[in-house]
């Protein structure tokens, strides 16, 4: 029996959701309607009496002060159109899950497994729209057809006694449970590739042949016969291998062999980008550190560094690009709650203390026709924003740092970077917390959510470009509350020393988590039929590969298992023993006692043949821009401040809780009106201590159009610059590299693959050069290599993009500095030299140019400057400090001025510069390693002393009113503006 309870606001109550949707209908679709209202629908798939339904409705479902309801009849009246939107079968329905728990409490009985609650919402429209318009609104605004279905009803079709007949989104049962298929790999190469493509395995011919050779080996087949398998691989084995060997998990491009040819034709063979540039730089830095504060790098889900003697810090940044392209909300939500599990699953587990997020989108004002299957960038922007909002806020983790980069090449795939930091005591149960131990005989325990078909093929899917058949099941919706309950429980279990090893279930699900953990003991025996499922009908390979969210896998010793399971039960978290870790050397998987997979651990993890790739660098030549420097820079300054990459992101930032946990020190928005853009975040993770954590990042994909070497150098410099601008200690800071690339493997479809691979090589070379120079070790990182869109003839590739995030320490947060100017009369200093480096700048971009003179980084000079600036800050000589990045000196100066609610008077002739004869170049050049600093006149002398030997110059002063005056190289005013007006321009662009 199916019942419906419909809940809506009483007519007198303001419907904020309805008003928002009404606004968007006009803004985005030019559909004017009189009124929009929302009705929440609960579909209860269970037998209930009317009295029970009434108790459920009046209990948890309805707020009697503002809502009314109807049982098994419609609530809507007086409308023109109804759109009802609900999930497709199998899609995570968080509200449905909460509803089911709530009604169980009301009725005092637990529903049967198959008795579910499904939720949907009705959008009730009063307004004269055509069916076509209603359909456009449904698909373009309200429903994402990949995960949701919708029904449209016009008032003329409406039967008020019956309402809408909506199908119940039950997952169709089938009788395939336990079914295992076998795949014959004794076939031609062509057939091998067909198997790979049809199965979304994303394996190339070499890799398919490696599987073929494995199964042809007689010692292998003999061993297989002992456990009841034969000469064919099972689908469980093939899927597990494809996942483990995926680009996403094995980083085959970063670990492959590259023949790199530079612009002069000199060749260099690089055995592995990762080993050669990333791992090697960290090793060198660690060897040179007076005291090595790196505790765990590259070996775990996240990197670990020391915070102080008693605590360590954990940090990881991930991307969730492909899922966010298909379902921005679910993709981003899963991105954030997914990366949460990385620091949580590092060592023995850390408590999560901050989130960061960086997005790359096409312009939300994009107005050309959209290629098929792509969502409009504004929809992606809002969906991703909301996903991160829900993921972060509901998990109680402050979102402290981030940015949004706009470039229309992100139309094909948005980039969604999500990062999370954690803190843990350095010792737990007498062992270093950043280590993991597993002994043969320990139980494999899965805890948290249940397994469904969600996210199957996520790892292999994200290793491919976005194409016509990109699987819908690759998308999942995270459930922050199930995860919060689980993490609450696991922190209790950790502190009671009830487990020895923990890791998360992300890409590849159990196959990946158990597979990786089994390396520590030397094997495993996993019984899939024991895994708790959301619904029946999953095949063994689906159970093994499912990427259903909110799950951790643990190793629990036989002595502790009872206590562990009892605590889980008490804290209302599901925990299930799925098998044992062994030292058999085999990844052994069973279903109902029958072996469904048995793979050699060495082959499983190391059998993937290395890729060999060609890379050829050619210096791109862009047309050299030619135009006159404007006499008056005021209009260009206004135009720059309004640009998407520079303008205020306050409307997004305010919707994230950046203060929960009580340790907020430097917020994302600072200054007299709380709206100035902070360079970096400072938080105090231990409330009784004044030691702080500093988080910032650098990202500058535009420079990659000229040379990715300098793009990488500038990203590292920018991250550090931001970090130092708030007072971060330059001697205790670690980095995380996140590469997002377009396909760098040359093929017929991808003719410039060799160039893109050369770009990747060059970025890695810069990573080595600059991390070692600055002594900022990378402690973890990730790459996402197939950020292309291809449907029909249309191909859109993202610009190669690296996000470089840093996390470090400030010894005393009371000495932190913000970017807003403080007092009239304070002296304004420019730190660092300005060069003619407008190539790839926002200024050139605003005029339609790219140019060639990209900013370069003088590492040793920058390092000295950052050290000196840090000393000045420790002596409390600096009133404000703001880094110069997008838009250069001009934009930084304007931001500092209006954030402080004051004006400035500055003379460009005093700015330290080389080779610049134009005001606009001086004002907007994006040369690296520069800051605008203000200093109280009483500290001037001490500041000069501290900065001795470094490039600094007094360029003007802060003035009491809001006049913003800049004198140019000719000695006449080139900017005359009002800083409040500049603020208004800066705040207008994205104020929606």
């Amino acid at each position: 029996m199916v019942h419906r309870i419909e809940v809506g606001f009483k007519p007198s109550v303001r419907d904020a959701w309805g008003e928002k949707v009404k606004g968007k209908m006009w803004d985005d679709f030019h559909c004017r309607v009189d009124r929009v209202q929302r009705i929440d629908v609960y579909t209860l798939d269970m037998v209930l009496s009317f009295d029970e339904l009434k108790r459920i409705a009046e209990g948890p479902f309805v707020d009697p002060i503002i809502q009314h309801y109807a049982i098994d009849k419609p609530l809507a009246r007086d409308f023109d159109w109804i759109i009802e939107i609900g999930f497709r079968p199998g899609v995570t329905d968080n509200v449905g899950r909460t509803s089911r728990e709530a009604l169980a409490l009301v009725l005092g009985k637990t529903p049967q497994d198959e008795e579910k609650v499904y939720t949907s919402k009705q959008c009730i429209i009063q307004g004269d729209l055509s069916r076509k318009e209603v359909e456009t609104i449904s698909t373009g605004l309200l429903a994402n057809e990949l995960i949701e279905r919708f029904t449209i009803v016009h008032k003329s079709e409406w039967d008020p006694s019956r309402g809408i007949d909506i199908p119940v989104p039950r997952v169709k049962e089938n009788n395939l449970s336990g079914e295992v298929a076998e795949v014959d790999l004794n076939v031609t190469d062509e057939e091998l590739m067909e198997i790979s493509q049809k199965g979304v395995l994303a394996l190339n011919l070499n890799e398919m042949k490696a599987l073929q050779n494995y199964i042809r080996d007689e010692t292998v087949t003999n061993k297989r016969r002992e456990v009841g398998l034969g000469e064919r691989l099972t689908d469980v084995e093939i899927e597990a291998l494809a996942q483990t060997w995926s680009e996403h998990c094995k980083h085959k491009i970063f670990n492959g062999i590259i023949h790199y040819q530079d612009e002069e034709g000199t060749e260099r063979v690089i055995e592995s980008l990762f080993d050669t540039f990333i791992r090697a730089s960290t090793e060198k830095i660690r060897a040179d550190l007076p005291e090595d504060w790196c505790l765990s790098v590259f070996v775990d889900n996240a990197g670990v560094i020391a915070f102080n003697r008693d605590y360590s810090l954990v940090f990881k940044v991930e991307t969730h690009n492909s899922p966010s392209a298909l379902d921005p909300y679910g993709g981003a939500l899963t991105g954030i709650v997914g990366v949460n599990r990385d620091p949580f699953g590092t060592g023995k587990g850390s408590k999560l203390i901050f989130n960061t997020d960086v997005f790359c989108f096409a312009s939300p004002f994009y107005s050309d026709p959209l290629p098929p299957r792509l969502l409009h960038p504004k929809r992606i922007y809002e969906g991703v924003r909301e996903g991160v909002e829900h993921g972060g806020n509901k998990s109680g983790i402050p979102t402290v740092n981030g940015s949004i980069v706009f470039d229309d090449r992100f139309l094909g795939k948005p980039l969604v970077y999500c990062g999370t930091g954690g803190i843990m005591p350095r010792m737990l149960g007498g062992k270093p917390s950043h280590t993991k131990n597993i002994s043969p005989g320990d139980f494999i325990v899965m805890t948290g959510g249940r397994i469904g078909k969600d996210g199957i093929h996520g790892a292999t899917f994200s290793s491919e470009e976005l194409h016509e058949d990109s699987p819908a099941t690759a998308v999942q919706i995270g459930d922050p509350i199930t995860q919060k309950r689980m993490t609450d429980f696991l922190l209790h279990a950790r502190d009671a020393h009830l487990y020895d090893c923990i890791t998360d279930n992300g890409a590849g699900g159990l196959s990946s988590s158990v597979g990786e953990m089994a390396e520590k003991s030397g094997g495993c025996e996993l019984h899939l039929e024991k895994a708790p499922l959301k619904y029946t009908g999953l095949k063994p390979w689906e159970i093994l590969l499912s990427e259903a969210q909110e799950r951790m896998t643990l190793a629990v010793s036989p002595q502790k298992i009872n206590a562990f399971l009892a605590l889980a039960e008490k804290m209302n978290v599901e925990a299930t023993v799925l098998g044992t870790f062994t030292d058999s050397g085999m990844f052994h998987v069973l279903y109902d006692g029958r072996t469904v997979a048995c793979l050699d651990m060495t082959f499983f993890h190391q059998g993937v043949p290395p890729l060999t790739m060609e890379a050829r660098w050619k210096v791109p030549q862009h047309e050299e821009p030619h135009f006159d420097s404007p006499r008056d820079l005021t209009p260009s300054l206004q135009k720059m401040l309004a640009r998407l990459n520079i303008c205020s992101k306050e409307s997004v930032i305010r919707q994230y809780d950046h203060e929960v946990q009580g340790g907020s020190v430097v917020k994302p928005l600072v200054g007299v009106c709380d709206d100035g853009p902070s360079d970096a975040a400072v938080i105090r993770p231990l409330l009784e201590s004044m030691e702080g954590v500093v988080v910032s990042h650098g990202i500058c994909p535009r420079y990659g159009d000229i040379d990715t070497y300098h793009m990488m150098a500038c990203a590292i410099d920018e991250a550090l610059r931001n970090y130092c601008a708030v007072g971060g200690n330059p001697n205790h800071v670690a980095g995380i590299d996140n590469f997002c690339w377009c396909d760098p493997i040359a093929s017929d479809k991808n003719p410039d693959g060799e160039y893109k691979l050369a770009q990747l090589v060059r970025a890695n070379m810069a990573l080595y050069d600059y991390t070692t120079c600055f002594a900022v070790p990378c402690i973890s990182g990730k790459d996402s290599m197939k950020n292309d869109y291809r449907i029909g003839d249309k191909k859109i590739s993202i610009p190669p993009t690296v996000l470089f995030s840093v996390m470090g320490k400030v010894d005393d947060i009371r000495k932190a500095v913000t970017m807003d100017v403080k007092q009239p009369g304070d002296v304004i200093y420019m730190l660092g030299t300005t060069y003619d480096q407008l190539g790839g700048s926002e200024y050139y971009a605003s005029l339609g140019w790219v140019g060639n003179g990209v900013p370069t980084v003088d590492g040793p000079r920058a390092k000295g400057l950052y050290q000196a600036l840090n000393r000045a800050m420790n002596l409390e000589l600096v009133a404000s400090c703001h880094d110069c990045s997008d838009g250069g000196l001009g934009v930084a100066l304007a931001e500092s001025a209006f954030a402080g609610g004051l004006g400035v008077a500055v003379d460009l002739r005093k700015v330290p510069a080389e080779g610049i004869a134009r005001d606009d170049t001086l004002f907007y050049s994006e040369s690296a390693s520069r800051f605008i600093v203000t200093v109280s006149p009483s500290n001037k002398e001490a500041f000069h002393d501290t900065m001795k030997g470094h490039t600094i110059a007094e360029i003007g002063s802060v003035v009491a009113d809001s006049t913003f005056t800049v004198v140019g190289l000719q000695g006449t005013a080139v900017v005359k503006a009002d800083s409040n007006e500049l603020r208004d321009v800066w705040k207008r662009t994205l104020a929606f």
């Binding site: 009697p64 002060i65 509803s99 994230y656 009580g662 409330l687």
Partner: protein
């Protein structure tokens, strides 16, 4: 005898740590963060405490409306092996004279349980609610609050005005009917209201009133002044470095939020020990 505070956690709370720290700074001798399962297993008892804290968060994800599902849980959940309802323990705690503070999601919970406004000591009937902000969005921003010094609220004694962060999407206070609003005013149960930066007149203007609350209500207490709920986060301002403009202004070392907890500790020491 020790002054004892309990902070209930679990199912989506997320401010328990700083709320517990605020209790310590306020002067409580013993502060325990207790997971709700420990109450349901009878391992911890509300009666052993003087001050009950309901911290902010997203109880059950606010999936059925803010704090709604957890209000349902507290009303129906049974303490293991006793047959006693958890909610009855809440009511006994109130009868024994204990203090309750609900912040943000905790305030929403108190209102939806009926603990507030709790007219005539009837703590089980919902008379008001907290619903979606007029802006339709969650927002993190600081607000200026004027305290009603005529209010019986024990938490705000001696405080005239206070500057605190709000971080919510459902903070709009709405009453069942005009009668409820009148009664709230006449009993001086409206403890704090949103104002402009001068802390003078209550305001309906966004963003000073961040959610569109009726009469700019930010916090209410019961007639005894011992039950208090507020949308702003006093535990979000425990040190001057939490203040959004601490690098520009001279501020006392201690954040203004501590005073709320100090009043609670003082009351417990003078009245309950």
């Amino acid at each position: 005898m020790k002054t004892k505070a309990i902070v209930i956690s679990g199912n989506g709370t997320n401010c328990e740590m700083e709320m517990a720290y605020a209790c310590e700074l306020g002067g409580f001798d013993q502060v325990d963060i207790v997971h709700i399962s420990e109450l349901l297993y009878g391992e911890k008892k509300l009666n052993d405490y003087h001050f009950l804290n309901l911290p902010g968060g997203f109880l059950d994800g606010d999936d059925l409306g803010s704090a709604k599902a957890n209000a349902n849980r507290i009303k129906h959940a049974v303490i293991n092996n006793t047959g006693e309802l958890l909610f009855d323990h809440f009511l006994q705690f109130i009868q024994q004279g204990g203090l309750i503070l609900g912040v943000c999601n905790g305030f929403q919970l108190m209102v939806k349980l009926g603990l507030l406004p709790g007219f005539d000591q009837e703590y089980t009937v919902q008379r008001a609610t907290l619903t979606f902000n007029d802006s339709g969005r969650f927002e993190d921003r600081w607000v200026y609050l004027k305290i009603n010094e005529a209010s019986p609220c024990v938490f705000t004694r001696g405080i005239e005005k206070i500057y605190l962060p709000v971080r919510h999407g459902e903070g709009k206070f709405v009453v069942e009917n005009e009668g409820v609003l009148k009664k709230l005013h006449s009993h001086a149960q409206i403890v704090m209201r949103y104002t402009r930066t001068d802390y003078k007149e209550a305001t309906g203007d966004y963003p000073f009133n961040p959610n569109g609350s009726v009469d700019a209500i930010a916090g209410v207490c019961d007639e005894s002044g011992r039950m208090f709920g507020m949308m702003p986060h006093p535990e979000g301002y425990l040190h001057y470095s939490n203040h959004p403009r601490w690098t520009r202004e001279r501020l006392p070392e201690e954040g203004a939020g501590v005073s709320i907890f100090r009043n609670a500790a003082r009351y417990v020491r003078h009245t309950l020990l």
